[in-house]
């Protein structure tokens, strides 16, 4: 029972961070119908930003998200305006090639600038924990989960209550109709990419105190985010949030009860099963 609770808890906590990465990807996809294969690299940039703020500016990685988010928001927005915008109406394979290319350029530029050394943020709480009964709760993971929940809440409020948020959702639902209703879809695309990049970077900053940072660290996160988004339903923010937590918990439980070497396998089997019975994803609307 202890093993079950312990695994479930750490899985859900880490799943919160996965969810944040997935939400960023799903917003970008929703608004522009482009799968951002450079998403993991944006997570990586967020990690580096947190790292340098920590080592040079002595900013705590959890506090650093206040700087990391606007920084990467700007980066994402510029990226959309200068590069991604040009392929909006291009063939899907061209879009895929473009984002993969951006990812490669980002990771290799970071390698040129900062070498491939592993960087580690060591805070007083990096391996801290406290006990609740038999279960030990990782302090940094709990804090990052709380921040993730707060960020997600703000995001929901933004998307549901504000005019701009509603315009983003309208663009995601039907780009042409939104445009006819007077929504500036170009601006929404820029905003969505900025938002997606910012969220990915925040996720990166949040796991940086317990993980490690190197230029190629992003690639597995791209894949994970992609699975989360497809699982939750392409373009569904709710779906990505739930999907992230499901993937986190599944990984952790599979690690505990089957084998940690096979946890990815379990995740993908679950992924296939959900797609088999609910092809549009958990919260996706079938587009027929």
């Amino acid at each position: 029972m202890t093993i079950f609770l312990q695994s479930l808890l750490s899985g859900v906590l880490i799943g919160g961070v996965y969810a944040l990465i997935g939400v960023g990807l799903t917003i970008i996809f929703g608004v522009m119908r482009i799968i951002n294969f450079a998403h993991g690299e944006l997570v990586m940039l967020g990690m580096y930003a947190a790292y340098f703020l920590f080592t040079l500016g002595h900013v705590d990685p959890f506090v650093s998200i206040v700087f990391v988010f606007p920084l990467l928001f700007l980066f994402g927005a510029v990226l959309q305006k200068t590069v991604i915008n040009r392929v909006l109406n291009a063939l899907p394979q061209n879009q895929i090639l473009l984002t993969i290319g951006i990812g490669l350029i980002l990771s290799n530029t970071m390698m040129l600038l900062f070498t491939s050394d592993y960087r580690i943020i060591s805070t007083a709480y990096s391996s801290g924990s406290f006990r609740v009964g038999e279960i030990s709760v990782s302090a940094p993971l709990l804090v990052s989960f709380v921040i993730t929940a707060a960020v997600t809440a703000v995001l929901y409020w933004f998307l549901l209550k504000t005019d701009t948020g509603q315009a983003i959702r309208a663009t995601a639902q039907d780009r042409d109709a939104a445009q006819l209703m007077g929504v500036n879809v170009r601006r929404m695309s820029v905003l969505a990419t900025g938002l997606g990049a910012g969220l990915a970077a925040v996720a990166g900053a949040l796991i940086s105190p317990t993980y490690y940072i190197f230029p190629q660290v992003g690639q597995p996160f791209t894949l994970k985010a992609f699975v989360i988004v497809v699982l939750g339903g392409m373009g569904s923010v709710m779906g990505a949030t739930v999907g992230g937590v499901i993937i986190g918990a599944t990984e952790s439980l599979a690690g505990a009860y089957i084998s940690s070497g096979l946890k990815d396998l379990v995740v993908y089997v679950l992924f296939l099963l959900i797609l088999l019975f609910k092809p549009a994803g958990l919260f996706g609307k079938s587009r027929v």
Partner: protein, 383 residues
Amino acid sequence: MKRLVPLLLAALLVAPAIPLAQIKIGVINSMTGPQAPIGENLTNGIKLAEEDLAAKGIKVQLIWEDDTGKPQVGLSAMDKLATRDNVAGVVGAYTSAVTNAVAKKAEQYKVPLVNPVASKEEITRQGYKYVFRVSATTGDYAAILLDLATTLGKPKSIAILSENTDFGVSGAKSARAYAEKKGIKVVFEEAYSPGSPDYRSTLVKVKGASPDLMFMVSYVADAITLMRQSRELQLTPMAFLGAGAGFSTAEFASEKNISHGVFSSTQWTPDVSWPGSKAFGERYQKRFGKVPTYHAANAYTAMLILGEAAAKAGGDREKIAAALHAGSWDGLFGPVKFEDFDGYTNQNRHQMLVEQVQNGQYFTVWPPALQSAKPIWPFPGWK
């Protein structure tokens, strides 16, 4: 492109003017990709060897190939080196997975391959005549650690946690075999897939098995993640034993919270009493601004040996292989000789060492004859 053609032709015409004494040696290494941080140690070690060869009047032309940590990339690098560049020999690769693949190719092409660090046992157990290994094997990694543990204490059980790569699986297999030979019960064994941010569920299971010894085989940064999460879960065995790689890097040691008291098997340390070790460590640090890991010394030695043998044999592959098989060397890596024994061919019997992190610094603690500090036993608990 058109403009390049005459240039290339000119280069071809000029080429014979370069003195023939220069010997081409290929290097296959993980210069980019997730293994790059350790790959860098190999690169730097090889560069120092190149300088020392030049000082002896042996001019080698190195042809660098990056395998990015992937066997298939390593294979095409070997194809290129053996056929297009026509090298006299190759030093490489870094990881066991790549080296195992490359070794087969080297044997087919009859190109002498000197393997600096890859320690999967099978690499030199396939009767290859052109594959030479300076490095110790994973069996040695496990054996020296368990020798230390059984001498200092009386451990009854062991948990083995390894990553599911060639190096990890081979390391775990050797550890199980040796532990059983020593009468230590294996209470937990699992291979994990590397790079995950969360190993807690696995470590909880380890804790449930409450082993006396915790043996881990991990590359670079997973070692830190595993130890951090072990601390979170307050996992306290009699000793943490790491099989080199991720447990013997400066980054790991500098994490004092989690590294204090952890043992790691290693092939070389700057403070070991082999001739020239200390000087090599200082020279490396001065030149590259970092403390070298054993990988640097292994790669240095491999390049030096191959360079000398190749120069003596005038670049003839068959003669080089014969010279490597017959020769013996002594230097900062201790004595090196490629021997055939116990199913191995051209395998160096290397004396393994155990280092322990004590307050953020590595000390050689085993074997007693070569130690620079007394081992701390048992695990002193978390700071």
